[in-house]
Symmetry: C2
Subunit: 303 residues, 2 copies
Amino acid sequence: MTETVISSATKEVVIGFDRPFVMIGERINPTGRKLLAQEMKDGDFSRVEADAIAQVEAGAHMLDINAGIPLADEPALMAKAIMLVQSVTDVPLSIDSSIIEALEAGITAYEGKPLINSVTGEDEVLERVLPLVARSGAAVVAISNDETGISEDPDVRFTVAKKIVERAADHGIPAADVVVDPLVMPIGAMGTAGRQVFALVRRLRDELNVNTTCGASNVSFGLPNRHAITGTFLSMAIGAGMTSAIMNPMHAEVKRAVMGADVLAGHDPHCASWISEYRDPAAGGGARGARRGRSGRRRGATP
Amino acid sequence: MTETVISSATKEVVIGFDRPFVMIGERINPTGRKLLAQEMKDGDFSRVEADAIAQVEAGAHMLDINAGIPLADEPALMAKAIMLVQSVTDVPLSIDSSIIEALEAGITAYEGKPLINSVTGEDEVLERVLPLVARSGAAVVAISNDETGISEDPDVRFTVAKKIVERAADHGIPAADVVVDPLVMPIGAMGTAGRQVFALVRRLRDELNVNTTCGASNVSFGLPNRHAITGTFLSMAIGAGMTSAIMNPMHAEVKRAVMGADVLAGHDPHCASWISEYRDPAAGGGARGARRGRSGRRRGATP
């Protein structure tokens, strides 16, 4: 019954085995988004603001914030993005960088208990990131690769995850504050990618008692009708016990697959969230958003 | 590596652990279809014919045939439906009735090795249906309820399934020819319905080594946007190891959920079926049907 509590100044989100799946909005990430990267570099954060609001409206429980732009001052951009997003939404944030100074700048700018994304199993990374996680009382995403790269052997990935959880404990970080990312490869390139993740998620849950997350969109890279693959992957991952993902809740099919899986996993009592979201086909499944008074735009349901 | 082979006069379908999921078309069933029931009773089988062709075009690998109409001559209607459907499609059939005479009439009219749907764990039913299955060399759907009804306890349902498999063996029917239906209840009425089935499917596969099936549509009864729930259920059931279902492949969302789950379970090598079905968004995902030269109508993909 592991629960990972993440918080903003005013709001708590709990990632947990018997909880609704936690959707972490993926959009605020300049990787592969040239326009966003250029704007952020130029000090224009209007798109960051709009993406934050839109993702929360679409149902994101948390937002991932990444400011990784080559040749830019990433720590300064991260701090600015974190402050801005906190000013326009109240959801807890995931501070996403491979640069320790950017993580530090993000943590300094953040009010609450963030999710730090991420630490790998590489010794050097562990020894830089874990003290920061411990000092700030944060939770951390543990990516199951190490110096040897990403193994195709799920047993190796399990062992790396176990090592990170143990090393975190050495730093006083409880297993409940380590959210393991089993690493999702594109299914088009590796036909066993799905099965590996499902088996790994089950083991991580049953044997290490940890929550799990992943960058979900990666699974459908290169395939047609890819949101359907991403959504189906998430449904199956939830069936295997996955408890959160970094994903795009603005894709109706992806969100629907998550909400449907919550119903079928027994995490949506009386199907209340599902019914609230989809009962009015004419509203395009936007009933929940509409009741919040935020938006009347169509989303969520097929016509 | 259990494989259940079902055949028509010219075609074999294999339900198996490492095979693509077998979609058994559910539409030819007058239960709840007043117009179809009246037409069949009046000797008008035009809708049966149209439904058979449409379901196979939409991707059904097999068709379920049910002729259960109150106060009608069910054995005669069953025989007629079986003969007609065999004349317009070449897929193997599931002969679906709770009346032994209708099963017998269906078997007599059928060319090939059918799936007989169904036998329950009730002693009286077992002793009537199993000899028929053995005599005709058919495979059979085993429904995991007995004299005491449908238990909410998955352990009881497992025990009933085990009893049927053992009793079938006494009649010389191998476990590979028993396809267990774990019974899917509406999730809107019973919040644990999904989890129960997923756990049961895993046990049936791991401990009894049998293939599984279900009437999938039942899970979403009473809910809005129900095809999305049915599809999500099927994705998760495939993740748990289910190998076939009686379902409606004409619902694009349901079919997509099955095909996506086949990709993610590693049952669609090189994603070939997925790519073939969905690579051309303008064709609405009907590429496969279109290449068969059967239909240009839109189906399968979101715009």
